[in-house]
Symmetry: none
Subunit: 401 residues, 2 copies
């Protein structure tokens, strides 16, 4: 029996409220002896640590650096090793493309095809504007293939998302991408009999696209990879936990992911304060709130240490507004670490604090990686965050007699 089965058995609906603030990529590594969290002036996050119980969470397990998908799945109580979201789905979510339960999506590159070979997998990194024009052209010229609707959504430079919509589609396909330059183009191949039809659609589309782009010098072909469908076995959070969840997130990736989990995705502006305004405005309508703060991760990804410090200080001013709502459970943590010095996600654990009347404070009074490591929760998997929050909100019945 796993946590999901347990949740189905034990979860009970209550009016109690849970607020989960995810400061994306929060954990860091020291620069001149201090991590971004240690360097930041953040009296309210520290006061939260003083009021709550602290710990460190590992998104997958020691040493595994997760993408945003698995890291968030774990936080929401979905085993990140069990549920793997296809690259196409993640790219689509990241681009704000709506994906229906029947659709197949893929990541695409415009590429340069010459003398039977793929000579540039990125079509000379054409401009985003040129990409937009090409997608518009293709959408107009190739609205469908054999009754299956085809849509391209431009991304940055040479990247786009392909979505095909219609009945009977399968994502059991190999990439239509030779992976290396100087090789012939390869068609998508069906990995199962039920995908033959879809393979035909994809390869038919690529033939049509070649004709439409025949006059282009650089972007005269396209490569497609990571064919994927909406994960059909993903239960909703409402179903698993008997909660009414809302997502307050501004970035497409997190909006798409939470929509996949059946959360109500609320509209929110780009400013830090917007998160708190939307929370307060909707506080009576839901009983589980996920707030996503992106700036810490963006600064970390770019290696902007000082900006990450500022991003922490920026949100710190609003933390008292979370206290004032007096949720039954307040958690502030992260999905994964993004140390500025690494300019990337990392495997380091996430600082974690939970405030609840049913969780007597430990002795931690600073919200940093090191201090959280001394917290009474110790070090634990992100997958146990959801059970812990639900328990402290009295949303879980007893297991066994």
């Amino acid at each position: 029996m796993n946590w999901e089965d347990l949740a189905r058995e034990l979860a009970q609906p209550t009016d109690s409220k849970i607020v989960l603030l995810v400061m994306d990529g929060l954990g860091g590594l020291p620069v001149n002896g201090r991590t971004e969290l240690q360097a930041a002036h953040k009296p309210n996050l520290d006061e939260t640590a003083r009021r709550g119980i602290c710990g460190l969470t590992d998104p997958v397990f020691l040493g595994i650096t997760p993408g945003s998908g698995p890291a968030h799945l774990a936080l929401f109580g979905y085993d990140p090793l069990r549920y793997q979201l296809g690259r196409g789905i993640l790219e689509a979510m990241g681009s704000g493309v709506e994906v229906g339960r029947e659709d197949v999506v893929a990541r695409g590159n415009f590429a340069t095809f010459r003398d039977g070979l793929v000579v540039d997998r990125r079509a000379g990194r054409i401009s985003t504007e040129e990409n937009q024009k090409l997608c518009e052209l293709i959408n107009k010229k190739i609205p469908e293939i054999n009754g299956i609707r085809v849509s391209l959504f431009p991304g940055k430079e040479h990247r786009f998302v392909l979505r095909i919509s219609g009945p009977g589609l399968s994502d059991a396909l190999t990439d239509a991408d030779p992976q290396k330059e100087g090789k012939p183009a390869v068609p998508a191949r069906a990995l199962a009999a039920e995908a033959e039809f879809t393979a035909g659609i994809i390869n038919g589309f690529l033939e049509e696209l070649k004709k439409v782009l025949a006059g282009e010098s650089r972007a005269n072909y396209a490569l497609l990879r990571g064919f994927s469908k909406f994960p059909s076995n993903l239960p909703s959070m409402a179903e698993l936990y008997q909660i009414k969840p809302a997502a307050i997130a501004n970035y497409p990736m997190y909006r798409g992911l939470t929509r996949l989990l059946g959360m109500e995705v609320l509209e929110v502006g780009p400013e830090t304060e917007d998160l708190f305004n939307v929370l307060e405005k909707n506080y009576e309508r839901y009983n589980f709130f996920y707030l996503h703060y992106k700036k810490t991760d963006s600064a970390g990804e770019d290696g902007r240490y000082e900006d990450k410090v500022k991003a922490i200080e920026d949100i710190d001013r609003f933390i008292p507004r979370l206290w004032q709502l007096r949720p039954d459970v307040l958690v502030i943590t992260s999905d994964h670490s993004t140390p500025s010095v690494l300019k990337s996600h990392s495997w380091h654990p996430n600082p974690f604090v939970l405030v609840s009347d049913r969780a007597p404070a430990d002795e931690v009074n600073q919200f940093t990686e090191k201090d959280c490591g001394r917290g009474s929760l110790g070090r634990f998997p992100s997958l146990q965050v959801m059970p812990l929050m639900l328990a402290c909100a009295l949303k879980l019945k007893k297991y066994g007699a």
Copy 2:
């Protein structure tokens, strides 16, 4: 490979002795800033913490509140998510009903049946005395059905345990209980072909019972649920660990559970001191002793904070008698927490201390939730208590070469 497989491979018989004292429901939450353990005057428990290594254990995992069954299974090294004891078995154990390996047991309610409907699922909560008389009557009038022996064991008010004994019985049955009042009675239905015979016995018994109780105004019917057999795949502790285990427990539930695990269940009186007398008297005859102290849990369940403090102080006086036996391993811990303020079991971790020459003391010198959280064992699953105890008693060989 799991712990059980490892245990079978590594356990070796030795004369070394292990004493495990379980103070049921020990962990608590603060009232006026102090948990029951923090408020109690308990010099000997504190001295034990000073001599030993401390930690906090999670019975299942973070956030999961266990019943006594799963919590004890974990402590004895049985995965509580793998082994699930049926409600009928637990009720039978709790009532002191002996359950043979072939028997099927169920929880029963006397109920009121009128005009084809179950109108009161508890028969107006008849008195325990009335219940006893009805069970006696039914046992006399319906000794068997189709060669299968039928026995009712009265519980409190309207509750009883049904046991049926004979060859070829199965517990793959739905509840014979409409769950709600105002609904027609429902028969037990077989969930597998091999349970058809048992379903016939149960439904035949209910028909006979209706006739016997026809003259009753309130208790004229019965509802049955949680049909269960002795878990057939449960290995004994002797078999797994090469130990000779004895249980010193006064309450039926714990006596029944340890009997299921193949422990020798010793007779013991209701006083705290009795636990220690029986331990001393039998110390040479076994090499693993489980002592169960119930008062901490009972007080917690009732919300009697002061009584829980007293229960801790009460047993504290006898702790030196454990030291004097000089067991190779002495552990004092709990199965689960029962904070008085919650008046129920909870998910909070258990204080844990282990004293052994092979476990150099850490710096903890008070036996409280908070202090144990700073112990050198950190926070760990209850399922690892058994391997740790066996190791410190040199009862586990090396794994691999």
